[in-house]
Subunit: 305 residues, 2 copies
DNA sequence: GTAATAGTGTCTTTCAGACAGTATGAC
DNA sequence: GTCATACTGTCTGAAAGACACTATTAC
């Protein structure tokens, strides 16, 4: 390979997630149209510490868990980059608790961008209007092509395939290809129907958010990271509601409890909630687990209500 | 964040994996001391296509499956970078079949770098000399500290914890911290015993390789990518040997078959092997699966012999 | 008492893990 | 026949999944 002497511009993009009262939220610019990003500083020792420093300065809140997501450097992204150069964006997923945002940022319900990913309210299973429109557009796009139809069926859980909550990115990608999200029209793609509900974002930020959600939904199943999103002490139902918020699906109470209690991740605080109804035991996360977060296994049930 | 006007140098690092006759192999420079890497070219449309083009030019072999691994940009890495700038390395995992290497590269058994990760020969379970030395060094390092001892136990499967073959990176990291790999001494770390067997690599290449192995061992369990490593048609035992090579563990034959056959990933070719012993049915990978590689679930048994 | 929320007991089905067996080729 | 390799049948125990039940508070 020859000399690579072009000007390169490197940026960090953060997907910061919190869960507040059963709503998964993501930190965005004030109008909710973009994820926060900033250039990589020469003073930063490493990418991760750079991101941590920057986020904590912006939100005045410590960042519990940080994980690298993906690095993008497509030429297509370079429109906003230095004229003769290339822009590299390194995206991160971070877990926190929500705090009053400082400056030109705000917290948004992430299902605002992906309404079809929230299936917690759908017990009766009569397909919603949105679902109907989505299926129709996708059917028009596949046009009978077997491969396309199979991709749609696997991603959206049709034709006898079960819904898999981790396929957030695959679903967004299909909707984009079928021209059913606003970004597709913006990028000059042919539409195969009315755009599906859901707020668009700048550039490929919505795709990055989809990547983050996919990753987080997969991660909580085998690594104890949910706790970064919860308060110091919490009831088992708080924990369940938090997981359900992330997964976009309801779960069986007794199974959830059985699985959580069998793993020795929690310890009782001895305190209880108050208010109407029977008081709930409060738990905390065992301290040792935090240290071995990357090693310790977790399991979660996959049960729908 | 202020203006980030430093000179940035971006490189691609490839971890190319093939499995040949039960040996997982990785592409390295001729002497096996480093992974192949090259600068990101202005002509490359995207990172992935840049890597693909470069690898296929080097190896004269198409690259089946490519996945981004991790992006590094620590200041510590910048020693070899432009004097006043920063170096960003984007690493990729790629799966191929082995071909005669062209130029200054070669294929190496990956267990050459991680002898402790190959547990296929250990039925009788008397700890090897290497294992004994490793435990001794790690015990000296933990020095009775409970947190350290628990990290070691979880990573290496001691004190009643089961061995988890995915924790390749965690194990390497612990050995590094304990000063038991050559890179630790090179970087000026205190040693807590004789270095463990295993060939060192340049800079943090061995850590990158550990990341790749971890990722691949996890991936084959839930996504059908093993097939990128196999010939066009193969027997079930070929498939099993390939998975065992990657996982570093033996598996039960009948369970393996039951699981593979229950998934509708394979189809019979109608042909058979010849040679001594009963001929084996030859299978091929169903073509539809390749298209939905990223969506289709796989399962593998986790069984030790 | 009722309403509301917390928490438990247990049945069924599925499947991972384990082992022992039979089948078909070369010689 | 022996040896070598391919393939199959079936038992067991631990879970996931599903449902119905009891317990403790506020009012």
């Amino acid at each position: 390979m020859a000399e690579g002497a072009q000007t390169i511009h490197a940026e960090l993009i953060a997907v910061l997630v919190a869960v507040t009262q059963g709503v998964p939220r993501v930190l965005t610019l004030a109008d909710g149209s973009a994820l926060p990003e900033g250039p990589l500083e020469p003073t930063h020792r490493s990418l991760q510490s750079g991101l941590r420093a920057w986020v904590e300065q912006q939100t005045h809140h410590p960042l519990g868990y940080v994980e690298q997501l993906y690095t993008f450097a497509d030429q297509a992204r370079s429109a906003k980059a230095p004229p003769e150069g290339r822009s590299i964006s390194i995206s991160y997923l971070g877990l926190t608790r929500e705090a009053a945002p400082q400056g030109a940022i705000s917290w948004q319900d992430w299902y605002r961008y992906f309404p079809w990913e929230d299936r917690r309210g759908e017990n009766k299973r009569e397909p919603t209007l949105m679902e109907a429109r989505m299926r129709e557009g996708l059917a028009r796009w596949d046009g009978g092509d077997v491969t396309r139809r199979m991709r749609v069926a696997s991603a959206f859980g049709l034709d006898g395939v079960a819904w898999n909550e981790e396929l957030v990115l695959a679903r967004y990608q299909l909707l984009y290809e079928a021209g059913l999200v606003h970004e597709a029209a913006r990028d000059g793609r042919a539409a195969h129907g009315e755009p599906v509900p859901g707020t668009p974002m700048v550039a490929d930020h919505r795709r990055i958010l989809a990547t983050a959600i996919s990753r987080l939904r997969a991660k909580i199943k085998y690594r104890p990271v949910v706790f970064e999103l919860l308060a110091e002490s919490f009831s088992l139902l708080d924990l369940q509601r938090c997981v359900e918020a992330l997964a976009g699906q309801r779960m069986h109470k007794s199974n959830f409890r059985r699985v959580m209690e069998g793993q020795n991740l929690l310890e009782e605080t001895g305190k209880f909630t108050s208010g109407p109804g029977r008081p709930a035991k409060l738990f905390r996360f065992r301290e040792a687990i935090r240290a071995e977060r990357d090693i310790t296994d977790t399991r979660l049930p996959t049960v729908r209500t």
